[in-house]
Symmetry: C2
Subunit: 330 residues, 2 copies
């Protein structure tokens, strides 16, 4: 979603609600370690109603920041902030919330579950919310959505995982390992991990779209310009340490783990009503596990079928801007 | 085609014709440099007829060796060696023919055109052939086939590029740059380029199949075993220097360059009858340029439409073992 988000960002930065931080003390991590202090970045839109029952939590995608979600929120968009109190949250490891790049010492491994644990404390301790009307997210935000509805089933009324996944497949693991292994190989050689990022970005761009979309929309002559931009961005963009930490979190993601690997048991434990949204031609987050879980739990599915691949939520925004508000207004 | 070729190799190694070498003196390269001596590996099957008119040249794919092609040759297979004199050739830079890994000093950059130039000298000087009945190849072998019919139009009667391409697209360039950039980043950091290969192989495996094929045929639980094997193979497998040299050759490949970028002019210059074979779901070598050229030149096309992606020639061997012999028997 990177390209889309950057476009939205430049178009809407002026209108961004202020970035706030929740100061979480002693955040326990799934790996057993505890972060003495973890600051979690978030932004809020709209007004919490008297019953405190209209809050929607919207965490970031892989490498994304809360500011990147601004373009999805507003009247006529995916989430109507005139009806709902919307909280966009910076996922752990994104460079805004507590992340390896901010740590002087060794930063412990984080999981998708840790991201959700930090968001649960933000919702309950900082914002004093009794429950969430909805949790929704795109890509890694969808992974966090799946974690939310299995880790805190009673706390979420509605859930919308968008091109997310409850569990990774061989295809996902090969892609993320290709990116992670490149950063790690350069680190192991004693090099600056930023020098790995242009190759990592080439791989990411390859899988972000379908080859058909790339061939149709990007002339081969644009390749050298693209790589020159990645070279420049590798110095100023997201820290490779943060990028690697979120890659490891995604690679370890599997909501069926606490259900003996059973999609049926995982689905049966969910209390939220779930609208599953997948891109059938998604080459970055494989749609099969989301479709398997939805089928076993009897959840409705919206299939985005265009050639945009993982960027379908941007390319087919019209569908989402209809189906998602319908689902949220219950 | 790696997995397929390895399977064939183990099954048929005992039957391999001997590896021979053509000693080419002063091989002029497209880059302007000259190799004083380049040994080109090849194997032959069947008998050259009295008219010397039944020779088929079959160069290797990216990273492949002539021994890997053995399984495609024989009665009832793609090429019937009881009718044809078949020459399988090791492409420059594959570690058998002259390659960076065999060079003590700096080895010059090689192109797909240089591979074909070495094969033309093998055919004319070493084997004294007046003409080739056919040139055929898979993947990078298909790229060499396109180069053959435009560089030596009068020398080739029939041509069969299989999941090859006359020119790379943005999708191809991103994939190969991701692999090449990983090797180069580790080299730049002063590391052993072999340590880059596990990440490169993960990337390669991801694009070799469709995500759907991977998800359907490989459980996520097989991921760690796959990566452990890549770790081991990185020490014994193809030299990263050779791998990078062939990547650079593919990235520079464009048969339309000598025709002012025109597919029409390139197609019009071809004298051979061409059977274009593509995999519509190929994520490694994009089929669009091959389809565009075939359409503009009016060449017949065989579309492999399964979910195997770039490995369709192995998965849909039945189709090729019918259509290719039909085409060769003219």
């Amino acid at each position: 979603m990177k390209l889309l988000s950057l476009a939205l960002l430049s178009a809407t930065l002026w209108a961004q609600p202020a970035l706030r931080f929740a100061e979480l003390r002693d955040l326990k991590l799934a790996g057993g370690q505890t972060l003495p202090l973890c600051r979690v970045g978030y932004r809020t839109y709209g007004t919490l109603n008297a019953e405190r029952s209209n809050a929607i939590l919207f965490p970031t995608w892989f490498g994304g920041r809360s500011e990147n979600l601004d373009g999805f929120i507003g009247p006529g968009k995916m989430v109507d902030s005139s009806r709902f109190f919307v909280i966009t949250v910076d996922a752990l490891g994104n460079g805004v919330s507590c992340s390896p790049s901010q740590s002087t010492g060794e930063f412990p491994a984080i999981t998708i579950g840790d991201m959700v644990a930090s968001q649960y404390r933000l919702a309950t301790e900082t914002l004093k919310l009794p429950r969430l009307h909805a949790v929704m997210g795109i890509s890694m935000g969808g992974m966090q959505t799946y974690e939310w509805i299995t880790a805190h089933p009673e706390f979420v009324k509605l859930a919308i995982p968008i091109v997310g996944s409850p569990k990774l497949t061989m295809a996902d693991l090969l892609l993320w390992q290709a990116e992670l292994g490149t950063i790690e190989a350069v680190q192991k050689a004693g090099g600056d991990p930023r020098s790995a990022m242009p190759a990592v970005r080439a791989m990411h761009e390859f899988a972000l779209h379908t080859p058909h979309w790339l061939t149709t929309n990007r002339p081969a002559s644009s390749f050298s310009e693209f790589m020159a931009k990645q070279q420049a961005d590798s110095q100023s963009g997201i820290s490779p340490l943060d990028y690697a930490a979120q890659l490891r979190a995604m690679m370890a993601h599997d909501i069926t783990r606490r259900f003996q690997g059973s999609f049926e048991s995982a689905g049966a434990a969910v209390r939220a009503r779930v609208l599953t949204i997948v891109a059938t031609e998604d080459h970055m987050v494989n749609p099969e596990p989301a479709l398997t879980l939805a089928a076993s739990a009897g959840w409705p599915v919206v299939k985005l079928t265009g050639i945009c691949g993982h960027q379908a939520p941007g390319c087919e925004a019209g569908t989402l801007n209809t189906r998602i508000p319908e689902f949220l207004n219950q």
